[in-house]
């Protein structure tokens, strides 16, 4: 009876997972959006989340691969958003996002070929939070089956769901005036970076932490016009960064997909062995406990079954330890895959970082010069304006 209960527990403890290869389609807003209401989105390079990963995934995570994934995933997310046509310019931006119409930040909580979990935070230039939640996607082995020739990323559904939620928020919560207001705030935020002495007073933060337009500059404000010209240059700089990210993603795609396909199998084996080890351990212990109790019975049949339970339970426990050892072998196999991928993409990651830093440094140096020129221009304009009443009052 106890053995029957133990084996019944075996069936109850087993878990079953349903996986699907159905791709969540991305939504497209076909309604006409005037240009002054078309929001741009800046996608930050994702946070690697190495401090937040589940403890049972530490052995399956490689820091260099994760660092590469932060840029890889951010780029794919930007591509997904851009491809919908629902937004203006969507770019990966490693810098300050405060002057962006909409800013998206992500943290990779888990990424092991089978499962990807990303915590997403989306907010607009006013500081209003659109989305702050985790997205999880579990894929099947068919996502990596080369015979299916799937061109999209294995986790494209994840990116599509995020894109859909961002669109839904905009459609459900923001009217035309609010869209225009977001763009205005973003524009003035950018202007503040180059002429804070002028544009600081145009924005204020209310009690709820939302940035509001306090007053507007004139439509023909010459200083703002110059800053708009600089902002066009900033767009060009960000576009150049996209070239870097695009090249990096294309270089990384092949080995990274291969790694995910192989690591998927290893992760599956690991999870399966871990589950079997746990199950057998529980089952074995239950059988032993039941057997020990039954050996005290006066019924010969029960006593005989009890010894069977003791023997079977001991065997299952031994097998549980064997399964754990096998799982550890999977970890080592996975480590070999991870180290191989790290060796392949590490130079590319380093090169990307160096180029981004170098270009950004050059751009920031130029921006600093522009700030000084703008300050001098403003001083000249103020001096000119002050001189006009003085000239008007000058004796004839």
């Amino acid at each position: 009876m106890l053995l029957l209960c133990a084996f019944a527990g075996l069936a109850a403890c087993s878990t079953q997972t349903v996986k699907t290869t159905t791709l969540t389609p991305v939504m497209v807003d076909e309604s006409y959006i005037p240009e002054n209401q078309l929001l741009d989105i800046a996608v930050a390079v994702f946070d690697p989340g190495l401090d937040e990963m589940p403890s049972n995934r530490e052995e399956l995570t490689f820091s260099d691969v994760r660092l590469a994934e932060t840029q890889y995933s951010a780029y794919l997310m930007a591509q997904t958003l851009q491809s919908t046509g629902n937004w203006g310019v969507v770019r990966v931006n490693p810098n300050d996002l405060s002057a962006s119409d909409v800013a998206m930040r992500g943290t990779i909580i888990q990424s092991d070929g089978e499962t990807m979990v990303i915590r997403v935070h989306v907010s607009d230039a006013t500081g209003k939070v659109w989305i702050d939640k985790e997205y999880e996607e579990v894929v099947s082995k068919y996502s990596y089956d080369p015979r299916l020739r799937r061109p999209e990323d294995a986790f494209q559904s994840l990116y599509n769901r995020i894109a859909n939620d961002i669109l839904q928020y905009r459609v459900r919560n923001l009217d035309s005036d609010e869209l225009v207001n977001i763009r205005t705030v973003a524009r003035l935020q950018f202007a503040k970076r180059f002429a804070p002495q002028v544009f600081d007073e145009y924005l204020e933060t209310n009690g709820r932490g939302i940035i509001e337009v306090k007053r507007l500059p004139a439509q023909n404000d010459p200083l703002l016009a110059r800053i708009d010209t600089i902002r066009e240059r900033d767009y060009l700089y960000i576009d150049a960064l996209q070239d870097y990210y695009g090249n990096f993603v294309r270089q990384m795609e092949g080995p990274y997909t291969q790694f995910r396909r192989l690591s998927y199998e290893e992760v599956m084996k690991f999870d399966k062995l871990q589950a079997q080890a746990r199950r057998n351990m529980v089952l074995g212990l239950a059988a032993i406990v039941g057997g020990l109790a039954a050996t005290q019975s006066n019924n010969a049949a029960v006593e005989y079954a009890a010894y069977g339970g003791l023997f079977g339970g001991g065997y299952l426990i031994k097998d549980a330890f064997n399964k754990r050892d096998e799982a550890q072998m999977q970890v080592e196999a996975l480590a070999e895959l991870g180290n191989s991928l790290e060796a392949e993409i590490a130079p590319q990651t380093i090169e990307l970082d160096e180029r981004v830093i170098t270009l950004t440094g050059s751009v920031e140096t130029q921006y600093e010069q522009w700030r000084e020129i703008l300050a001098d221009l403003y001083a000249a304009e103020v001096g000119e304006e002050a001189a006009q009443p003085a000239n008007a009052n000058a004796p004839q």
Binding site: Y32, L216, E232, D239, L359
Partner: protein, 248 residues
Amino acid sequence: MNVSVNGTQIPNVLDTQSPGQPGTPGTNPAGSMPGSTGQQSGSTANGTDVAGTGSSNGSSGTQQGSAGTQGQSGTAGGEIAYGTGDDPFATLGRPGGGGMTAAQRKAVLDARLEESYAEFDGMIIGERERAQAEANEAGSAVMGTGAGGGGADGDEGGFDLPGSGSIIVASAPESSTGGGYMPDGTASREGDFSNAAQPTFDPPADIPSGDDDDVVARQLREAAMREPDPELRERLWDEYRNYTGIAQ
């Protein structure tokens, strides 16, 4: 650098051999901006004054001056070394100050700004050309620079969200890199596992029918027939054989 305003040559005050005193930054007068007097007081943030004028093309690729201009970001020929505190215009731009009026100073500064735009554009264009060359070498095209991206192809039906226009579910949106489009249709396929009843595995050939199994033998048989792991399943069958005496 020689600059003329309205045909009047501006003295080349930039050709200084020795750096002047550091310039004083422009003051921020309490009041409105130039050109905005009387236009912004009492104005509401209705967005009509400012919004919409900023282009979000993002990548119009405008090219000021010529690409690859020889202008250097540092000092050259006594030009102002912005960022180093060298500002021979320190006393200019103010009424009665120096030999340059505010308008002249503005013209010089604007010219300097335009020149730096050209330098910046040249730098960015150079970087993009380098990236494109690398991409071509790798056998793929550099991402395009158009804003807005592509729309969606096809429509699988539509649904309306409250307060929105028509929103359709895209079946195959375009991707500028060619690596992000979705397959046609929404073919669903079962994955590795299913919610169906737990499968059973036939016993080995040497295992009898089990009609005369007692409780323990029947439990061993059922456990072996449900065990998906082949190695463990075989061990359970061995245990069954040992218990029923088949192995003897």
